[in-house]
Amino acid sequence: MKLTGKVHKFGDSINTDYIISGKYKFKTLDMDELAKHVMEDLDPSFYSKIAPGDFIVAGRNFGLGSSREQAPLVIKHAKISVVIAVSFARIFFRNAINTGLPLVVCRDAGKIDAGDKLEVDISAGVIRDITKNIELKAEPLPPVMIKILQDGGLAEHITKHGGFEL
Protein backbone atom coordinates (compact mmCIF):
# COMPACT_ATOMS: atom_id res chain seq x y z
CA MET A 1 0.00 0.00 0.00
CA LYS A 2 1.49 3.33 -1.12
CA LEU A 3 0.36 6.52 0.56
CA THR A 4 1.12 10.06 -0.53
CA GLY A 5 0.81 13.35 1.31
CA LYS A 6 2.71 16.26 2.67
CA VAL A 7 4.77 16.51 5.83
CA HIS A 8 4.07 18.23 9.12
CA LYS A 9 7.31 18.28 11.07
CA PHE A 10 7.79 18.00 14.85
CA GLY A 11 10.91 17.67 16.99
CA ASP A 12 12.05 15.19 19.65
CA SER A 13 10.06 14.06 22.69
CA ILE A 14 6.53 14.89 21.53
CA ASN A 15 4.60 13.66 24.56
CA THR A 16 0.99 12.54 24.81
CA ASP A 17 0.03 15.74 26.69
CA TYR A 18 1.10 17.71 23.59
CA ILE A 19 -0.74 15.36 21.26
CA ILE A 20 -3.97 15.76 23.25
CA SER A 21 -4.06 17.74 26.47
CA GLY A 22 -5.47 16.21 29.65
CA LYS A 23 -7.81 19.16 29.97
CA TYR A 24 -9.79 17.91 26.95
CA LYS A 25 -9.29 14.20 26.78
CA PHE A 26 -11.10 13.19 29.93
CA LYS A 27 -14.33 14.94 28.94
CA THR A 28 -15.60 13.05 25.93
CA LEU A 29 -15.28 9.97 23.73
CA ASP A 30 -16.00 12.02 20.59
CA MET A 31 -12.63 11.65 18.85
CA ASP A 32 -13.59 13.92 15.92
CA GLU A 33 -14.23 16.67 18.47
CA LEU A 34 -10.98 15.94 20.37
CA ALA A 35 -9.04 15.83 17.08
CA LYS A 36 -9.57 19.59 16.69
CA HIS A 37 -7.21 20.05 19.66
CA VAL A 38 -4.42 17.80 18.35
CA MET A 39 -0.96 19.32 19.12
CA GLU A 40 -2.73 22.51 20.23
CA ASP A 41 -0.17 23.47 22.90
CA LEU A 42 2.62 23.32 20.29
CA ASP A 43 0.73 24.88 17.37
CA PRO A 44 -2.78 26.21 18.00
CA SER A 45 -3.65 26.15 14.28
CA PHE A 46 -2.21 22.69 13.54
CA TYR A 47 -5.57 20.98 12.99
CA SER A 48 -6.60 23.49 10.32
CA LYS A 49 -3.37 22.87 8.38
CA ILE A 50 -3.94 19.13 7.89
CA ALA A 51 -5.09 17.78 4.53
CA PRO A 52 -6.46 14.22 4.69
CA GLY A 53 -3.64 11.72 4.21
CA ASP A 54 -0.84 14.03 5.42
CA PHE A 55 2.08 12.67 7.46
CA ILE A 56 3.54 13.63 10.80
CA VAL A 57 7.34 13.34 10.81
CA ALA A 58 9.12 13.63 14.16
CA GLY A 59 12.36 12.94 16.01
CA ARG A 60 13.12 10.69 18.95
CA ASN A 61 10.73 9.19 21.51
CA PHE A 62 7.45 10.27 19.89
CA GLY A 63 4.46 9.61 22.16
CA LEU A 64 6.20 9.45 25.52
CA GLY A 65 4.12 9.90 28.64
CA SER A 66 0.59 8.83 29.38
CA SER A 67 -1.03 5.59 28.23
CA ARG A 68 -3.96 7.53 26.79
CA GLU A 69 -5.18 5.82 23.66
CA GLN A 70 -6.80 9.11 22.77
CA ALA A 71 -3.33 10.15 21.54
CA PRO A 72 -3.12 7.85 18.49
CA LEU A 73 -6.90 8.12 18.01
CA VAL A 74 -6.92 11.92 17.67
CA ILE A 75 -4.05 11.73 15.17
CA LYS A 76 -6.03 9.19 13.17
CA HIS A 77 -9.23 11.22 13.43
CA ALA A 78 -7.34 14.34 12.34
CA LYS A 79 -6.84 12.35 9.08
CA ILE A 80 -3.09 11.92 9.44
CA SER A 81 -2.33 8.66 7.58
CA VAL A 82 1.03 7.66 9.12
CA VAL A 83 3.41 8.90 11.81
CA ILE A 84 7.08 8.61 10.90
CA ALA A 85 9.65 9.09 13.68
CA VAL A 86 13.23 8.24 14.61
CA SER A 87 11.84 6.30 17.60
CA PHE A 88 8.59 5.84 19.50
CA ALA A 89 7.75 5.46 23.19
CA ARG A 90 6.59 1.97 24.09
CA ILE A 91 2.94 2.40 25.11
CA PHE A 92 2.17 4.81 22.26
CA PHE A 93 3.66 2.30 19.83
CA ARG A 94 1.31 -0.45 21.04
CA ASN A 95 -1.70 1.83 21.20
CA ALA A 96 -1.20 3.09 17.66
CA ILE A 97 -0.99 -0.41 16.23
CA ASN A 98 -3.91 -1.59 18.39
CA THR A 99 -6.10 1.22 17.05
CA GLY A 100 -4.92 0.84 13.45
CA LEU A 101 -2.72 3.93 13.09
CA PRO A 102 0.34 2.89 11.06
CA LEU A 103 3.75 3.96 12.40
CA VAL A 104 7.06 4.00 10.58
CA VAL A 105 10.39 3.95 12.40
CA CYS A 106 13.05 5.68 10.32
CA ARG A 107 16.49 6.63 11.63
CA ASP A 108 16.85 9.20 8.84
CA ALA A 109 13.54 10.96 9.48
CA GLY A 110 15.59 14.10 10.23
CA LYS A 111 16.37 14.40 6.50
CA ILE A 112 12.70 15.09 5.78
CA ASP A 113 11.53 18.71 6.02
CA ALA A 114 8.18 20.34 6.69
CA GLY A 115 6.11 20.65 3.54
CA ASP A 116 7.95 17.87 1.66
CA LYS A 117 5.78 15.57 -0.39
CA LEU A 118 6.25 11.88 0.49
CA GLU A 119 5.27 8.53 -0.88
CA VAL A 120 5.27 5.91 1.86
CA ASP A 121 5.13 2.19 1.20
CA ILE A 122 4.48 0.68 4.64
CA SER A 123 4.74 -3.00 3.73
CA ALA A 124 7.98 -2.51 1.77
CA GLY A 125 9.32 -0.14 4.45
CA VAL A 126 10.30 2.57 1.99
CA ILE A 127 9.80 6.34 2.25
CA ARG A 128 10.29 8.33 -0.95
CA ASP A 129 10.74 12.07 -0.46
CA ILE A 130 9.41 13.34 -3.79
CA THR A 131 10.39 16.96 -3.06
CA LYS A 132 14.01 16.01 -2.39
CA ASN A 133 14.08 13.01 -4.69
CA ILE A 134 15.61 10.74 -2.06
CA GLU A 135 14.62 7.33 -0.75
CA LEU A 136 14.80 6.42 2.96
CA LYS A 137 14.60 2.98 4.51
CA ALA A 138 12.23 2.22 7.36
CA GLU A 139 12.82 -0.38 10.07
CA PRO A 140 10.42 -3.31 9.81
CA LEU A 141 7.65 -3.60 12.39
CA PRO A 142 7.72 -6.74 14.58
CA PRO A 143 5.71 -9.52 12.86
CA VAL A 144 3.17 -9.61 15.73
CA MET A 145 2.35 -5.96 15.13
CA ILE A 146 2.06 -6.40 11.37
CA LYS A 147 -0.48 -9.15 12.05
CA ILE A 148 -2.57 -6.88 14.32
CA LEU A 149 -2.32 -4.00 11.85
CA GLN A 150 -3.34 -6.25 8.95
CA ASP A 151 -6.42 -7.33 10.88
CA GLY A 152 -7.29 -3.63 11.29
CA GLY A 153 -6.39 -3.29 14.97
CA LEU A 154 -6.50 -5.37 18.14
CA ALA A 155 -10.30 -5.35 18.59
CA GLU A 156 -10.68 -6.68 15.04
CA HIS A 157 -7.89 -9.22 15.62
CA ILE A 158 -9.57 -10.58 18.76
CA THR A 159 -12.98 -10.70 17.09
CA LYS A 160 -11.61 -12.45 14.02
CA HIS A 161 -9.63 -15.11 15.88
CA GLY A 162 -11.63 -15.38 19.12
CA GLY A 163 -8.52 -14.44 21.12
CA PHE A 164 -4.82 -13.84 20.50
CA GLU A 165 -3.54 -15.60 17.38
CA LEU A 166 -0.02 -14.24 17.14
Partner: protein, 423 residues
Amino acid sequence: MVGDTLGRTISEKILGAHSGTDAKAGDIVVAEIDYAMGQDGTTPLSIKAFQKMKGERLKNPDRISLVIDHSAPSPNEGVSALHKMMREFSEKTGCNLYDIGEGVCHQLMPERGHVVPGDLVVGADSHTTTYGALNAFSTGIGSTDLAAVMLTGKLWFRVPHTTKIAYKGKMQKGVYSKDLMLHTIGLTTADGCTYDAMEFTGAAVRSMSIDARMTMANMAVEAGAKAGIFECDEKTLKYVAERSKRAPKPTSSDPDALFNKTIKIDSSKVPPMIAKPHSVDNVEPVDKLLDVNINQAFIGTCTNGRVEDLKIAARILKDKQVKKGVRLIVAPASKGIYLEAMRLGVLQTLVKAGAAVVTPGCGCCVGTHNGVPSDDENVISTANRNFKGRMGNSKAFIYLASPATVAASALKGKIADPREATQ
Protein backbone atom coordinates in the same frame (compact mmCIF):
# COMPACT_ATOMS: atom_id res chain seq x y z
CA MET B 1 23.57 -22.90 22.77
CA VAL B 2 25.27 -20.30 24.94
CA GLY B 3 21.95 -18.59 25.69
CA ASP B 4 20.63 -21.68 27.48
CA THR B 5 23.35 -21.61 30.09
CA LEU B 6 22.67 -18.05 31.15
CA GLY B 7 20.64 -17.17 34.20
CA ARG B 8 17.39 -15.22 33.98
CA THR B 9 16.18 -11.83 35.15
CA ILE B 10 13.08 -11.16 37.29
CA SER B 11 11.19 -10.04 34.17
CA GLU B 12 12.12 -13.18 32.22
CA LYS B 13 11.08 -15.38 35.15
CA ILE B 14 7.72 -13.68 35.77
CA LEU B 15 6.74 -13.51 32.09
CA GLY B 16 7.95 -17.10 31.63
CA ALA B 17 5.93 -18.38 34.59
CA HIS B 18 2.79 -16.67 33.28
CA SER B 19 3.13 -17.91 29.72
CA GLY B 20 4.34 -21.44 30.43
CA THR B 21 7.52 -20.75 28.49
CA ASP B 22 11.23 -20.44 29.10
CA ALA B 23 10.94 -16.76 28.21
CA LYS B 24 14.07 -14.88 27.25
CA ALA B 25 14.48 -11.18 26.49
CA GLY B 26 13.22 -10.46 23.00
CA ASP B 27 10.69 -13.33 22.94
CA ILE B 28 7.02 -12.64 22.26
CA VAL B 29 4.74 -14.39 24.77
CA VAL B 30 1.01 -14.48 25.49
CA ALA B 31 0.72 -14.42 29.28
CA GLU B 32 -1.98 -14.86 31.94
CA ILE B 33 -2.69 -11.65 33.83
CA ASP B 34 -2.98 -11.75 37.64
CA TYR B 35 -4.64 -8.37 37.97
CA ALA B 36 -5.72 -5.51 35.68
CA MET B 37 -6.77 -1.96 36.34
CA GLY B 38 -8.26 0.97 34.45
CA GLN B 39 -8.96 4.57 35.47
CA ASP B 40 -11.56 7.11 34.39
CA GLY B 41 -9.34 8.60 31.68
CA THR B 42 -8.81 5.26 29.96
CA THR B 43 -11.60 2.84 30.97
CA PRO B 44 -14.43 4.42 28.92
CA LEU B 45 -12.45 3.66 25.73
CA SER B 46 -11.79 0.13 27.06
CA ILE B 47 -15.53 -0.39 27.50
CA LYS B 48 -16.07 0.73 23.91
CA ALA B 49 -13.31 -1.59 22.67
CA PHE B 50 -14.77 -4.45 24.76
CA GLN B 51 -18.13 -3.90 23.06
CA LYS B 52 -16.41 -3.76 19.66
CA MET B 53 -14.87 -7.17 20.49
CA LYS B 54 -18.45 -8.32 21.18
CA GLY B 55 -17.50 -8.95 24.79
CA GLU B 56 -20.26 -9.73 27.25
CA ARG B 57 -18.60 -11.38 30.24
CA LEU B 58 -15.26 -10.62 31.83
CA LYS B 59 -12.94 -13.62 31.82
CA ASN B 60 -11.92 -12.97 35.46
CA PRO B 61 -14.17 -10.28 37.03
CA ASP B 62 -12.45 -10.80 40.41
CA ARG B 63 -9.11 -9.73 38.90
CA ILE B 64 -10.20 -6.33 37.59
CA SER B 65 -10.61 -2.97 39.30
CA LEU B 66 -11.88 0.25 37.77
CA VAL B 67 -10.83 3.42 39.56
CA ILE B 68 -12.44 6.86 39.33
CA ASP B 69 -9.51 9.10 40.24
CA HIS B 70 -8.44 11.36 37.36
CA SER B 71 -11.41 13.72 37.57
CA ALA B 72 -12.90 12.92 40.94
CA PRO B 73 -15.40 14.22 41.98
CA SER B 74 -16.53 15.04 38.47
CA PRO B 75 -15.87 18.66 37.43
CA ASN B 76 -18.39 18.73 34.55
CA GLU B 77 -21.25 16.85 32.87
CA GLY B 78 -19.05 15.30 30.16
CA VAL B 79 -16.94 13.56 32.79
CA SER B 80 -20.04 12.64 34.79
CA ALA B 81 -21.39 10.69 31.82
CA LEU B 82 -18.12 8.73 31.55
CA HIS B 83 -18.14 7.99 35.29
CA LYS B 84 -21.71 6.73 34.99
CA MET B 85 -20.65 4.48 32.12
CA MET B 86 -17.94 2.94 34.37
CA ARG B 87 -20.32 2.43 37.30
CA GLU B 88 -22.86 0.69 35.05
CA PHE B 89 -20.16 -1.51 33.50
CA SER B 90 -18.92 -2.58 36.93
CA GLU B 91 -22.49 -3.31 38.04
CA LYS B 92 -23.17 -5.37 34.91
CA THR B 93 -19.92 -7.35 34.78
CA GLY B 94 -19.22 -7.79 38.49
CA CYS B 95 -15.76 -6.24 38.51
CA ASN B 96 -14.62 -4.04 41.38
CA LEU B 97 -15.07 -0.27 41.24
CA TYR B 98 -13.30 2.30 43.41
CA ASP B 99 -15.45 5.41 43.23
CA ILE B 100 -14.53 9.04 43.98
CA GLY B 101 -12.61 9.65 47.16
CA GLU B 102 -11.13 6.14 47.42
CA GLY B 103 -7.85 7.33 45.99
CA VAL B 104 -5.33 7.15 43.16
CA CYS B 105 -5.31 3.83 41.29
CA HIS B 106 -1.59 3.21 41.89
CA GLN B 107 -1.99 3.58 45.62
CA LEU B 108 -5.13 1.43 45.76
CA MET B 109 -3.73 -1.57 43.86
CA PRO B 110 -0.95 -2.27 46.41
CA GLU B 111 -2.74 -0.84 49.46
CA ARG B 112 -5.87 -2.98 49.00
CA GLY B 113 -3.88 -6.14 48.44
CA HIS B 114 -4.40 -6.65 44.69
CA VAL B 115 -0.69 -7.20 44.04
CA VAL B 116 1.79 -9.71 45.51
CA PRO B 117 5.42 -10.52 44.61
CA GLY B 118 5.82 -12.47 41.38
CA ASP B 119 2.54 -11.17 39.92
CA LEU B 120 2.01 -10.01 36.36
CA VAL B 121 -0.15 -6.88 36.50
CA VAL B 122 -1.28 -4.46 33.81
CA GLY B 123 -3.04 -1.13 34.09
CA ALA B 124 -4.43 1.35 31.60
CA ASP B 125 -2.22 4.08 33.00
CA SER B 126 1.46 4.60 32.31
CA HIS B 127 2.45 4.74 36.00
CA THR B 128 1.36 1.13 36.54
CA THR B 129 5.09 0.47 36.90
CA THR B 130 4.59 1.47 40.58
CA TYR B 131 3.89 -2.10 41.79
CA GLY B 132 7.40 -3.14 40.84
CA ALA B 133 8.09 -1.94 44.39
CA LEU B 134 6.35 -5.17 45.48
CA ASN B 135 8.52 -7.38 43.25
CA ALA B 136 5.76 -7.69 40.63
CA PHE B 137 6.10 -7.18 36.88
CA SER B 138 3.60 -4.41 36.25
CA THR B 139 3.28 -2.23 33.20
CA GLY B 140 1.10 0.40 31.58
CA ILE B 141 -1.07 -0.44 28.60
CA GLY B 142 -3.71 1.31 26.50
CA SER B 143 -7.48 0.97 26.55
CA THR B 144 -7.78 -1.64 23.78
CA ASP B 145 -5.14 -3.83 25.43
CA LEU B 146 -7.15 -3.61 28.67
CA ALA B 147 -10.30 -4.63 26.79
CA ALA B 148 -8.43 -7.68 25.46
CA VAL B 149 -7.42 -8.59 29.03
CA MET B 150 -11.02 -8.18 30.22
CA LEU B 151 -12.21 -10.55 27.51
CA THR B 152 -9.43 -13.17 27.43
CA GLY B 153 -7.56 -12.80 30.75
CA LYS B 154 -4.36 -12.63 28.71
CA LEU B 155 -2.10 -10.21 26.88
CA TRP B 156 0.88 -10.41 24.53
CA PHE B 157 4.25 -9.07 25.64
CA ARG B 158 7.70 -8.71 24.25
CA VAL B 159 9.95 -9.92 27.07
CA PRO B 160 12.13 -6.91 27.91
CA HIS B 161 15.86 -6.72 28.41
CA THR B 162 16.82 -5.35 31.82
CA THR B 163 18.85 -2.35 32.88
CA LYS B 164 20.19 -2.83 36.38
CA ILE B 165 20.62 0.23 38.58
CA ALA B 166 22.78 -0.38 41.64
CA TYR B 167 22.66 2.22 44.43
CA LYS B 168 25.49 1.95 46.91
CA GLY B 169 25.98 4.02 50.04
CA LYS B 170 23.55 5.87 52.27
CA MET B 171 21.50 8.91 51.26
CA GLN B 172 22.30 12.23 52.95
CA LYS B 173 19.85 13.71 55.42
CA GLY B 174 17.19 15.68 53.50
CA VAL B 175 17.62 13.46 50.44
CA TYR B 176 14.86 10.99 49.54
CA SER B 177 14.06 8.29 47.02
CA LYS B 178 12.50 10.96 44.76
CA ASP B 179 15.85 12.73 44.55
CA LEU B 180 17.59 9.45 43.77
CA MET B 181 15.11 8.72 40.97
CA LEU B 182 15.31 12.23 39.46
CA HIS B 183 19.10 11.88 39.49
CA THR B 184 18.76 8.46 37.81
CA ILE B 185 16.45 9.77 35.06
CA GLY B 186 18.88 12.63 34.49
CA LEU B 187 21.53 9.97 33.77
CA THR B 188 19.42 7.64 31.63
CA THR B 189 17.44 10.45 29.92
CA ALA B 190 13.72 10.17 29.15
CA ASP B 191 14.16 7.44 26.54
CA GLY B 192 17.32 5.77 27.85
CA CYS B 193 15.46 2.68 29.07
CA THR B 194 12.78 2.43 26.36
CA TYR B 195 11.54 -1.19 26.06
CA ASP B 196 13.74 -2.24 29.03
CA ALA B 197 12.78 -3.22 32.53
CA MET B 198 14.71 -1.39 35.23
CA GLU B 199 15.84 -3.44 38.20
CA PHE B 200 16.70 -1.44 41.32
CA THR B 201 19.21 -2.91 43.75
CA GLY B 202 21.91 -2.01 46.26
CA ALA B 203 22.22 -0.95 49.90
CA ALA B 204 20.40 2.37 49.50
CA VAL B 205 17.20 0.81 48.14
CA ARG B 206 17.31 -2.12 50.56
CA SER B 207 17.16 0.33 53.46
CA MET B 208 14.14 2.11 51.95
CA SER B 209 10.51 1.72 53.03
CA ILE B 210 7.96 0.29 50.58
CA ASP B 211 6.47 3.82 50.20
CA ALA B 212 9.87 5.14 49.13
CA ARG B 213 10.38 2.26 46.69
CA MET B 214 6.99 2.96 45.11
CA THR B 215 8.14 6.50 44.30
CA MET B 216 11.02 5.10 42.25
CA ALA B 217 9.13 2.28 40.54
CA ASN B 218 6.40 4.80 39.69
CA MET B 219 8.87 6.94 37.74
CA ALA B 220 10.57 4.10 35.83
CA VAL B 221 8.29 4.97 32.90
CA GLU B 222 9.82 8.48 32.85
CA ALA B 223 13.02 6.81 31.64
CA GLY B 224 10.93 5.03 29.00
CA ALA B 225 10.99 1.71 30.88
CA LYS B 226 8.34 -0.97 30.67
CA ALA B 227 8.72 -1.91 34.34
CA GLY B 228 10.73 -0.86 37.41
CA ILE B 229 11.30 -3.81 39.72
CA PHE B 230 12.70 -4.26 43.21
CA GLU B 231 13.82 -7.46 44.89
CA CYS B 232 11.56 -9.02 47.51
CA ASP B 233 12.62 -8.76 51.17
CA GLU B 234 11.05 -8.91 54.64
CA LYS B 235 9.55 -5.44 54.19
CA THR B 236 7.83 -6.54 50.99
CA LEU B 237 6.49 -9.71 52.59
CA LYS B 238 5.23 -7.83 55.65
CA TYR B 239 3.49 -5.22 53.45
CA VAL B 240 1.61 -7.81 51.39
CA ALA B 241 0.86 -10.14 54.32
CA GLU B 242 -1.04 -7.28 55.99
CA ARG B 243 -3.12 -6.72 52.86
CA SER B 244 -3.52 -9.85 50.73
CA LYS B 245 -4.54 -13.46 51.29
CA ARG B 246 -2.71 -14.60 48.17
CA ALA B 247 0.64 -16.34 48.48
CA PRO B 248 3.62 -14.22 47.42
CA LYS B 249 6.00 -15.68 44.83
CA PRO B 250 9.28 -13.86 45.56
CA THR B 251 11.34 -13.67 42.38
CA SER B 252 14.95 -12.66 41.95
CA SER B 253 17.41 -12.48 39.09
CA ASP B 254 19.99 -15.24 38.88
CA PRO B 255 23.58 -14.20 39.65
CA ASP B 256 24.53 -14.96 36.04
CA ALA B 257 21.48 -13.25 34.50
CA LEU B 258 22.25 -11.20 31.43
CA PHE B 259 21.65 -7.45 31.86
CA ASN B 260 21.49 -4.96 29.02
CA LYS B 261 23.59 -2.57 31.08
CA THR B 262 24.36 -1.76 34.71
CA ILE B 263 24.37 1.79 36.06
CA LYS B 264 26.16 2.33 39.38
CA ILE B 265 25.16 5.26 41.57
CA ASP B 266 26.77 6.39 44.83
CA SER B 267 23.68 7.46 46.79
CA SER B 268 25.72 9.39 49.35
CA LYS B 269 26.75 11.86 46.64
CA VAL B 270 23.23 12.65 45.39
CA PRO B 271 21.85 16.02 46.61
CA PRO B 272 18.17 17.06 46.62
CA MET B 273 17.24 17.23 42.92
CA ILE B 274 14.78 19.22 40.82
CA ALA B 275 13.40 18.43 37.35
CA LYS B 276 13.00 21.74 35.55
CA PRO B 277 10.37 22.58 32.93
CA HIS B 278 9.38 20.95 30.58
CA SER B 279 10.88 17.47 30.83
CA VAL B 280 11.56 15.00 33.62
CA ASP B 281 15.18 14.38 32.59
CA ASN B 282 16.00 18.11 32.74
CA VAL B 283 17.40 17.77 36.26
CA GLU B 284 19.62 19.93 38.41
CA PRO B 285 20.68 19.97 42.10
CA VAL B 286 18.37 22.15 44.20
CA ASP B 287 21.12 24.62 45.16
CA LYS B 288 21.43 25.74 41.52
CA LEU B 289 17.81 26.93 41.51
CA LEU B 290 17.37 28.76 44.81
CA ASP B 291 16.29 32.04 43.20
CA VAL B 292 13.23 30.59 41.40
CA ASN B 293 9.98 32.09 42.72
CA ILE B 294 7.07 29.76 43.49
CA ASN B 295 3.34 30.52 43.11
CA GLN B 296 1.93 27.08 43.85
CA ALA B 297 3.25 24.06 45.74
CA PHE B 298 1.61 20.64 45.38
CA ILE B 299 2.12 17.58 47.58
CA GLY B 300 0.32 14.43 46.46
CA THR B 301 0.01 12.01 43.49
CA CYS B 302 0.87 8.35 42.90
CA THR B 303 4.52 9.37 43.17
CA ASN B 304 4.58 11.12 46.55
CA GLY B 305 1.18 11.30 48.23
CA ARG B 306 1.72 8.61 50.87
CA VAL B 307 1.75 8.82 54.68
CA GLU B 308 5.54 8.97 54.82
CA ASP B 309 5.54 11.88 52.33
CA LEU B 310 2.89 13.83 54.24
CA LYS B 311 4.79 13.24 57.50
CA ILE B 312 8.00 14.61 56.00
CA ALA B 313 6.15 17.73 54.80
CA ALA B 314 4.42 18.18 58.17
CA ARG B 315 7.73 18.01 60.01
CA ILE B 316 9.02 20.94 57.93
CA LEU B 317 5.78 22.96 58.11
CA LYS B 318 4.99 22.40 61.82
CA ASP B 319 4.14 25.67 63.61
CA LYS B 320 5.10 27.67 60.53
CA GLN B 321 3.17 29.48 57.81
CA VAL B 322 3.36 29.05 54.06
CA LYS B 323 4.76 32.23 52.47
CA LYS B 324 2.04 34.78 51.73
CA GLY B 325 1.02 34.54 48.08
CA VAL B 326 1.94 30.84 47.76
CA ARG B 327 -0.86 28.29 47.40
CA LEU B 328 -0.08 24.93 49.01
CA ILE B 329 -2.32 22.09 47.81
CA VAL B 330 -2.23 18.64 49.44
CA ALA B 331 -3.91 15.53 48.02
CA PRO B 332 -3.48 12.34 50.10
CA ALA B 333 -3.10 9.45 47.63
CA SER B 334 -5.94 7.41 49.16
CA LYS B 335 -8.72 7.39 51.71
CA GLY B 336 -6.60 5.10 53.87
CA ILE B 337 -3.76 7.61 53.81
CA TYR B 338 -6.19 10.49 54.45
CA LEU B 339 -7.49 8.73 57.58
CA GLU B 340 -4.03 7.78 58.81
CA ALA B 341 -2.72 11.33 58.28
CA MET B 342 -5.72 12.62 60.26
CA ARG B 343 -5.10 10.14 63.05
CA LEU B 344 -1.45 11.19 63.27
CA GLY B 345 -2.31 14.91 63.34
CA VAL B 346 -0.37 15.39 60.11
CA LEU B 347 -3.30 16.97 58.29
CA GLN B 348 -3.96 19.39 61.17
CA THR B 349 -0.33 20.53 60.95
CA LEU B 350 -0.51 20.97 57.18
CA VAL B 351 -3.86 22.83 57.23
CA LYS B 352 -2.70 25.10 60.06
CA ALA B 353 0.40 25.94 58.01
CA GLY B 354 -1.88 27.03 55.16
CA ALA B 355 -2.48 23.93 53.05
CA ALA B 356 -5.69 23.37 51.08
CA VAL B 357 -6.46 19.65 51.29
CA VAL B 358 -8.33 18.19 48.30
CA THR B 359 -10.02 14.84 47.65
CA PRO B 360 -7.64 11.90 47.10
CA GLY B 361 -7.18 11.71 43.32
CA CYS B 362 -5.08 12.82 40.34
CA GLY B 363 -6.75 16.14 39.40
CA CYS B 364 -4.09 18.70 40.20
CA CYS B 365 -1.24 16.68 38.64
CA VAL B 366 -3.02 15.88 35.42
CA GLY B 367 -4.71 19.23 34.83
CA THR B 368 -8.35 18.20 35.07
CA HIS B 369 -9.22 20.33 38.13
CA ASN B 370 -8.16 21.03 41.77
CA GLY B 371 -5.35 23.48 41.11
CA VAL B 372 -4.79 24.63 37.53
CA PRO B 373 -2.02 27.27 37.58
CA SER B 374 -2.31 30.66 35.87
CA ASP B 375 -0.19 31.96 32.96
CA ASP B 376 3.52 32.47 33.70
CA GLU B 377 3.22 30.89 37.16
CA ASN B 378 5.78 28.53 38.65
CA VAL B 379 4.62 25.36 40.38
CA ILE B 380 6.75 23.06 42.51
CA SER B 381 5.21 19.62 42.70
CA THR B 382 5.86 16.13 44.02
CA ALA B 383 4.37 14.63 40.83
CA ASN B 384 6.14 12.62 38.16
CA ARG B 385 5.62 14.78 35.04
CA ASN B 386 6.33 18.41 34.24
CA PHE B 387 5.40 18.52 30.56
CA LYS B 388 4.17 21.81 29.20
CA GLY B 389 0.42 22.00 29.83
CA ARG B 390 0.47 19.00 32.15
CA MET B 391 -1.36 20.77 34.98
CA GLY B 392 -3.91 22.30 32.60
CA ASN B 393 -2.09 25.45 31.49
CA SER B 394 0.58 25.37 28.77
CA LYS B 395 1.86 28.80 29.91
CA ALA B 396 2.78 27.59 33.42
CA PHE B 397 6.13 26.11 34.53
CA ILE B 398 6.37 22.92 36.60
CA TYR B 399 9.34 21.93 38.79
CA LEU B 400 9.40 18.41 40.25
CA ALA B 401 10.91 17.62 43.65
CA SER B 402 10.61 15.57 46.83
CA PRO B 403 7.91 16.37 49.43
CA ALA B 404 10.63 17.86 51.67
CA THR B 405 11.83 20.24 48.95
CA VAL B 406 8.24 21.21 48.06
CA ALA B 407 7.38 21.92 51.73
CA ALA B 408 10.57 23.94 52.27
CA SER B 409 9.89 25.90 49.07
CA ALA B 410 6.30 26.64 50.12
CA LEU B 411 7.65 28.29 53.28
CA LYS B 412 10.16 30.46 51.43
CA GLY B 413 8.14 31.31 48.34
CA LYS B 414 11.22 30.26 46.39
CA ILE B 415 12.81 26.92 45.60
CA ALA B 416 14.51 25.95 48.86
CA ASP B 417 17.01 23.36 50.03
CA PRO B 418 15.24 21.00 52.47
CA ARG B 419 18.55 20.28 54.21
CA GLU B 420 18.34 23.81 55.67
CA ALA B 421 14.65 23.53 56.63
CA THR B 422 15.19 20.31 58.59
CA GLN B 423 18.14 21.60 60.62
